[in-house]
Symmetry: C2
Subunit: 377 residues, 2 copies
């Protein structure tokens, strides 16, 4: 097989003048080291964690696209506040796309690299929204026979995140979980994991159809934040499960605060003397996403034993150590087509992923939608 | 010595109708168990942690007092939002005053209780804003010879809190501290501890005269939040000290968020590739007080490795264990007149502490002011 001389790579740049640009740049085919392989990227998903790098704090409601084919560009203005947050990335061409899968089409001279030639592998290496990607052979997860790039495209971020939420719960002494944006691809995986591991899970969704989707999956505790009885329902569900740990994908607004208040109200149902400083059991909400970029507002009406903080998969894995990471990865490979199956509603070419109307759809994606980029299209 | 038949005790009550009342109630002299003592309370400080119990979320700007002597009452309206937060305490007569000191004037038949007769002891037992207080003998800390009730009145809350901040820093892997409302009695103790233990401390104050007070004490890093260069000064001080842990007494508003942003900006000064997910070292702000009852607003412009949470001395001591608590207590007794000396600007009778004009002063206390209640006045 003859490889082309160059390939297209999607990058995101914030200019000093306050404009975000996403475009395709032409890159020369890379040289391979002995222990490196070249992957022809065939399938790479758009995860919420990618959107943070792609769009940052730009005003996406004002995004526009121009050009066609390899010259398609997306631009969006950035407010002064957004520029403050993104100061450190001004002028840097950031490659985007955390994970993906494809076929190894070239390999260095090392034995392991050579053994991957022609294999379908998945990799979490960044810069995956590209036609080709160089990667260390050791970083590649060879898929089992019969599994396609499409099957393995999402086998790192969401599966490891969902598994790590349950690991975090155990490591920090909690016994049940609350999850927001719970009908997401990640949320569905988490439901399957919790069902298999007998962990009680409170699912918070934003729409009745999301509640229905989870109910159809067999989820037991589902609370709809669009319902008038949301806060009372949440207290009931938290009381029923004893959850004192939540993972929130939205990040902004009052949701984290409302979850902590519900945990406190649930704790107060257990008879005991009133304490002015609140319940003693630590209540924690981790913000692992930023679907809502507005500030997090905490009213602190839940005593003193609470915490809110950022949560990021690589930081967790670094803390948990290599053995845990290996154990989780092995489970993903074993259960790729069951627990960790991803369903895609749209397949986009690199160019399509830069068109303003398409971007608007995946930026504000609705129930069950999940977008896949197929760079060979 | 003949004891009276009854004594006065200060209580705080929130009615279902939305009114806070603080008043003195007459209580019968308690019966003593074998291992209990009766303390004639002579000195008991008004700490910020007491004010939480005294006033809760009432609108203190609208407080009014009525009556005289033992019939002095203070009332203040409570907003619907405040009622929501204080639901669990509606109708409960809460005794106030966490700590204090006085003379043991009666004792049960137990040997240890008897050994305390006539001694000056300090105790952290709650309900100390009273003429008398029954306490388990084991809970009493006998002061060294020559130390008065006034010397020992504040020997638990602030000394143990300041020491526990440094313990928390060590337990959680940080190497320097940031402290807000840093000119407070507690803040001054923390400066003395950090100087003795060679721990770098960034002091955040709100006024130039508070900065001067700390400068006169020999504090090295002082940042004034009323200064135009506050944010830049804070980054400089955090960069100089490497602090990744802060204790914030104010709780509300944007201060915690600004501290985290400054920690992130300080981390970004260390050369290295830009990471979209921010610096990897965990940055933590503990809210240990609520001088500002408005919501805590977090703009999350500091990556993913951060946390904000409540921090409460009893919860910390429970987690740290008995040995740590004993070690800290022994240090307080040894250094009561030096490191842990408290200076009081006002001495109030129980009645005075309920007068609206006096309450207004200690509710919004300024630099260096610290109020002591002397229930025998």
């Amino acid at each position: 097989m003859t490889l082309p001389q160059s390939y297209l790579q999607m990058i995101s740049t914030v200019s000093a003048e306050g404009e975000l640009t996403m475009e395709l740049v032409e890159k020369p085919m890379p040289e391979l080291g002995d222990d490196e392989v070249l992957i022809r990227v065939e399938a790479t998903p758009i995860n919420p964690s990618d959107q943070g790098v792609m769009f940052g704090w730009a005003s996406m409601a004002k995004a526009a696209s121009s050009g066609t084919g390899a010259h398609t560009r997306l631009t969006a203005p950035v407010s002064p506040q957004g520029m403050g947050v993104m100061k450190a990335r001004v002028g840097q061409q950031l490659p985007v796309g955390n994970e993906g899968a494809g076929t190894v089409v070239a390999a260095g001279s090392g034995d392991y690299a050579q053994s991957l030639m022609g294999k379908v592998v998945a990799v979490m290496g960044g810069g995956m929204y590209a036609q080709y990607r160089k990667a260390p052979a050791m970083m590649c997860l060879p898929l089992k026979d019969g599994h396609t790039a499409r099957d393995g495209a999402s086998c790192f971020v969401n599966p490891l995140t969902a598994l790590s939420m349950v690991e975090t719960m155990r490591m920090e002494g909690h016994t049940a979980l609350v999850h927001t944006a719970a009908a997401s691809n990640l949320g569905q995986m988490l439901n399957r994991i919790c069902a298999a591991d007998a962990v009680e899970l409170v699912n918070i969704v934003r729409k009745p159809e999301q509640a229905q989707l989870l109910r159809d999956m067999g989820a037991k505790h589902i609370v709809d934040s669009s319902s008038e009885s949301f806060k009372a329902d949440l207290v009931d569900a938290i009381h029923a499960t004893g959850a004192t740990l939540a993972f929130d994908a939205t990040g902004g607004g009052e949701l984290a605060s409302n979850i902590l208040a519900a945990m406190e109200a649930a704790a107060a149902r257990t008879p005991g003397a009133y304490s002015i400083y609140g319940s003693v059991k630590h209540k924690q909400v981790y913000l692992y996403g930023g679907l809502d970029t507005s500030p997090t507002v905490l009213n602190r009406a839940y005593g003193m034993a609470w915490g809110v903080g950022g949560w990021l998969l690589p930081n967790f894995l670094a803390k948990a150590g290599g053995d845990v990471a290996m154990r989780l990865r092995a489970r993903v490979a074993d259960e790729l087509k069951t627990t960790f199956a991803s369903h895609y509603t749209d397949e986009l070419s690199l160019e399509q992923a830069l068109q303003a109307d398409v971007v608007a759809r995946y930026y504000a994606k609705t129930t069950g939608e999940k977008f896949l980029i197929c760079p060979q299209k």
